[in-house]
Symmetry: C2
Subunit: 535 residues, 2 copies
Amino acid sequence: MTAAQGQTPQPVLIAGRWRPATLRGTFQAENPATGESLPQVFPISTWDDCDAVLDAAGDAARQLLELPGERLGDYLNCVAQRIEHCADELVACAHAETGLPATPRLRDIELPRTTNQLRQAAWAAAEGSWRLATIDTQADMRSWYAPIGPVAVFGPNNFPFAFGSSSGGDFAAALAAGNPVIAKANSSHPGTTQLLAAQAQEAAEETDMPRGIIQLLYRLEHADGQRLVADPRLGATAYTGSRAAGLALKAAADRAGKPIYLELSSVNPVVVLPGVLAARWTEIADEFTASCLLGTGQFCTNPGLVLLVRGSASDRFVAAVAARFDATPPGVLLSRGVQTSLQQSVECLCGAGAERVTRAAVPEGSGYRCPNTLLRVDGARFLADPARFQTEAFGNAALVVVAADLDELCQILKQLEGNLTGCVYSDPAGADDDAYARVARLLRPQVGRLLNDKMPTGVAVSPAMNHGGPYPATGHPGFTAVGIPAALRRFAVLECYDHVHPRRLPRGLSDANPHGSMWRLIDGRWTQDDVPSRG
Amino acid sequence: MTAAQGQTPQPVLIAGRWRPATLRGTFQAENPATGESLPQVFPISTWDDCDAVLDAAGDAARQLLELPGERLGDYLNCVAQRIEHCADELVACAHAETGLPATPRLRDIELPRTTNQLRQAAWAAAEGSWRLATIDTQADMRSWYAPIGPVAVFGPNNFPFAFGSSSGGDFAAALAAGNPVIAKANSSHPGTTQLLAAQAQEAAEETDMPRGIIQLLYRLEHADGQRLVADPRLGATAYTGSRAAGLALKAAADRAGKPIYLELSSVNPVVVLPGVLAARWTEIADEFTASCLLGTGQFCTNPGLVLLVRGSASDRFVAAVAARFDATPPGVLLSRGVQTSLQQSVECLCGAGAERVTRAAVPEGSGYRCPNTLLRVDGARFLADPARFQTEAFGNAALVVVAADLDELCQILKQLEGNLTGCVYSDPAGADDDAYARVARLLRPQVGRLLNDKMPTGVAVSPAMNHGGPYPATGHPGFTAVGIPAALRRFAVLECYDHVHPRRLPRGLSDANPHGSMWRLIDGRWTQDDVPSRG
């Protein structure tokens, strides 16, 4: 009998109340830095909890429709402020559950990023330009994007705050678009998600939001998750995580005609062209090492695949990166599952013929760790099994593909699956320009974000960001999970008002601009003005 | 042996050449006004034709990426002009294949609408604002919507020009967004589609477009259609037609992670509130009859479900509509299939308890016809089997549901599936305002376009149009099939350029506004200006 048995499981958050779950079972999180179970016991919910959550979310969604965007903005700002106020507790809990460094990572990078996102979303909700309000005065028609209904958010393991299901980008975007959130905690950090949901719930009370605007379940059987994303009461789902689990949810949602936005695996190819490699291989080895090992390599945009053309520079580069990898103490991985999966991916790549160029020594230090791993394979061998060589090794590992020449490198690019990002390093003086043109033409359609001379791990919360890309990196290439206002439109429906009496139009579609700052497309012109008076 | 046997089947259009199909079989269209087969023989293609079409479309897509939008605009304008030049031939062929009146419908309404759409799309392609170019100068990031790749268009039976796969709204939107089109003719009007594809192909030659910008197949086995929409070489699919066939294609595309935009069945509820019904029942009976029988009721937005509150006015209204239906000679239906399906739907509704209030007499006149049919059912009975009573009766039939009171009417609204449109008629003096508020709150989330005091059959090509709606009316509630620029964004991917050298940016994302008229969101402000110079 473990210490935890007999403990009362933590409550779930349903319809504004923390209450006991209807139990299918329980689980505990682990501290990946020690391998020890953490004391709290969390419930695995039955469908009854999902059912209650869906009913309450539907009620909340209807009430949210009546609130002006400014009220949602106040709410999101309040969530941000509360997160800052309990930063110590949040950082300690997230550190224990994820092994991510308390500082600078959790406290100084991820937490400010999270509150910044929430405040940007708050501003977008209040301001309303995200709705792309379109007014045709001649046809007497007006349209805009409006809330889609309750959004289920399945958060990933790697960003407990910034992508957390009760605090992160999807949470902020769904709410800013006017939808209640059903948060499904990531099972690796249920305590952090609970603390964040508590902030979101208290903020809801403080700002007088509908009950059920934020609800929390910790874990579901797979069948219940699939039933949840297909439920008629749900508006849409956002999922970030592994490909297998994501595709199972996608299949269920697709069959029911429910939008689901997925962010799945991505190997994020980096092409370093010969001219710049010869001139700058040491700096690029530094940049690559820093990017690839950041957060123990557990970033969605981690550069996991490097493409080079054979030559003395590529040998030097590979040796330089290997030396840096070997010299860097490997960080803790997020969980035993991540460690196992990383080991399996590396074995899979080696089994296919990739050669390990870093030491395979078992790393020092407690907890779940793998050695920093650099693998190398020739272009010809890659081309013999391109799908296998694109196996994502989520964590502190990368594969370098050394092509015989630029033609072979281009053949490899043609075999790439969809990815979130693709980087090309080229000679600033122009020596690589012809090669760049060939490479960019092939890489561009395969990636959501194309970078020059820069590693992909920084994901700025910019209106121009695309954190998305072609399948299977995501489920639809037209949407981004990061970047406001575009990320909000995932959780919206297009609504048209045809010949609707002026007094019955929503405020944002009325003649008067609601607050003088909302951008609207009126008779083909983007403007913050009112609709010109007729006649 | 029929007259057609032994005839050489009509050629398919692949990679810019009319050539013999690889045959799985042949078929002929019928003249629905006579029931007779039309003389031309058309091929049912094997997968080999699909394979060739996909290869050529991929080549064309890559070439289109290099062309400025103005060139696509020239192309689409040229298509419009050519369609006008051969209007006589097109109208004659479409009339023979669909039974739709040559005039005014085909020549004076649908053909001008089609060329108007093409010209609006041409303008959008040249002007570029549809791309929602977004520039963040501080983060040095730029994004916009870019072409998604070859688009397969499965056109419907009911608008041979305006929604035709080689001339209509999806064709225009896909091309304006920079994508080649693979047209799959509707089997009921292959000759019309061929004539239109010939115009599109000749326009391609005249304006020096890539070979394969428009290709045409007439008919495929279902399995080949499903393989086509899932092929890695394809970008996306647009389908308008029956729910069963559409959902089979959706399942195939979803499994492959390929976007598919569906426009399926819709009963388009019309609520006439008590105040306005008592005051204006004759005018509304006129409006409803005209809208419901327009094109023999074969409109996507045909009002097929009327919701009333019981009373003497509703009795008078039903009797008035029935009289008008009985007094109007029923038009020809598009095909034997439409006739059969309409008969089955009416039987299904009657079997569930709907009562026929129009005469069931076999209509006079040759060809495929059904009597104009008005059915009536009480609200309580509707609520006993709401799914069955929402069976679409595509054609000249409608169901009136008479609720006991407004509460029951609201219960019915809660049972509605997703629809393209929803109309509410209310007293202009305000007598229905409370009822309107209740009804609109329930109807709004179920429909893409909400109308006041107006029937839904006019679908203006307006930037503010939404010809879309919640599943199962379409496959995704965030997209519209009509309305420029929004319809173009279905066929686009979001592309981000992060730190990309200015000389390598696409023209529309460069500092200089390409032609001074493209709207771009620069640092949070929509503008037609250049990016301000730095420093």
